[in-house]
Symmetry: C2
Subunit: 312 residues, 2 copies
């Protein structure tokens, strides 16, 4: 049996498959009913491990749907009303997998925190709170090489083969990449990331009315390039948005297909569309910017923004 080490863990597909058999259940970290998945903490060979079990999505080809209909077993009627009938049942089709598993092993306390259920809080960041507390905290987040991975991509040092489009210009330049969550194939779940060449913008809070021409120019370029690379998408079928607060403090934009089922990342209280930011800047007086308005958003209780600023 191979010894598990970080980096090169000496695994083969066969030994990897056997890990699951050794998983010893400890406790549930989080369950997401709508996504039909749960994150479970356990132990494998004396080390902590997280197992994520999700129900598989249904296959969409005709044969698979016919098979799925035929493989429904143990049908029990729960309720009916007029033309509506509800049942519970079991899937009985071992020819196709109906579960997806993800295992993190060995995992650290940081993984456990990340996947644990986290109470959320809605906070209102006034211009004063932003200037005196949040902005200095953001600046600290940019120190100590934390943005090195972003600059590596911008400078063409890493992930060169991932770049979909690169527009070189110190002012209006940007790099277009697939988001790590996207499978890079399915247009229906398209998720791209745009890193701006401008390094002076930590977040949308740094955008001023005078940045409107820059933002509109980039917006137009992005729509043109994305619909150029993916001609099956028209300009009114892509959503462009920022996160506030973002995960890292270098200006970036998310691009998704408007048909994507929304996840937390596209919800109010977390995301704001580029069109909304443009509209907001347009209605502000000259000389003002996004730093001059109140922003209300949702954060986790374990985030430093909650522990060190809003709940301090």
């Amino acid at each position: 049996m191979a010894i598990v080490e970080n980096g090169d863990n000496g695994m083969t597909s066969e030994t990897a498959s056997k890990l699951i058999d050794e998983f010893v259940y400890k406790r549930l970290l989080r369950s997401e009913a709508q996504d039909r998945r749960m994150f479970i903490l356990g132990e494998i060979r004396g080390e902590q491990a997280i197992l994520c079990i999700s129900r598989g999505a249904f296959h969409q080809d005709d044969a698979a749907i016919r098979a799925a209909c035929g493989a429904v077993k143990n049908i029990e009627s729960i309720q009916f009303n007029d033309i509506y009938f509800w049942y519970s049942a079991n899937a009985d089709d071992v020819s196709r997998p109906d579960l997806q598993l993800k295992l993190i092993y060995p995992c650290t306390e940081k993984h456990i925190r990340k996947y644990s259920a986290q109470p959320l809080r809605k906070v209102t960041e006034t211009p004063e709170i932003y200037q005196t507390l949040v902005r200095p905290w953001m600046q600290k987040q940019r120190e100590g090489g934390r943005l090195k991975w972003v600059y590596n991509i911008l400078d063409g040092i890493t992930e060169v083969e991932d770049v979909i489009f690169r527009h070189n210009d110190p002012l209006t330049g940007f790099v277009l990449l697939p988001d790590s969550q996207w499978d890079r194939k399915t247009l229906g779940t398209l998720h791209l990331l745009v890193l701006t060449e401008r390094r002076d913008l930590m977040s949308i809070r740094d955008l001023k009315k005078s940045d409107l021409p820059w933002l509109k120019l980039m917006y137009g370029n992005l729509i043109r390039e994305v619909t150029g690379v993916y001609p099956a998408l028209s300009k009114d079928e892509i959503q462009l948005y920022f996160h506030y607060q973002p995960t890292y403090y270098h200006m970036h934009i998310h691009i998704t297909n408007v048909h994507t089922e929304p996840t937390g990342g596209q919800a109010i209280g977390k995301a704001i569309t580029v069109e909304d930011v443009i509209s907001r800047l347009e209605s502000l007086p000259e000389g003002k910017g996004m730093a001059d308005i109140s922003m209300t958003y949702v954060i986790g209780e374990s985030s430093e923004l909650w522990t060190d600023i809003f709940n301090a």
Copy 2:
């Protein structure tokens, strides 16, 4: 075998269960990957029927999770990288149902349209488009008694037993009700609806800077009453938002738990928080209002807004 009729269909649980066996697959109407469900059109006894198959959510009690871990079969390693391992597998635990079914039988063309995939479009409604095209269209939507059901609730004629809280005042009054999607029990999925007593407001577009005191007063009242009725929720755990475009043109507010997994109704391009509307009004010049800004949102191709206005 009972003859199926609308209204009283003469079904028993047993005959209802047997309907699924008679379902003949015709075509897929819609598949939702994230929700792990699909809507299938078929035929039963010569009549059209829609079958919705969803993967079951996982049970959350300790014993069920232990059982679920133990019942994972046919594990196949897909990929691994460092401490992360991905697999596909089958669930093999017939002691608990892992599917939910919903059947609509017999169904009409309207049901088929409702459950069919609908192409979406992002549109930008400028102040000019709103004034000349959208506003007159909205006014038409209020004609012919279409808002009678709202006024019936406000006047205490119907749904009297559903009302959670009623604040009587011609200016700042409102009625608080459970949304029809909410089970009225589970606080984690709380979804309430607020109908304002003011009947002059068709949508947020009618809000002016001068309405700020009214809106802030109502916002405070709503938070106080909701946390009063549901003391387990604190004021920073509820999300208050409008839809734009709304489904009906009488001013109303949605209230949900911030922990609710977001659905389409809470996504950017559809929803806007009350705090954002307040913030937008605050940064507008005196005399201006929400009618003076550009709003970008997502609509279905079969909506009249698309067919009659934006695509006309």
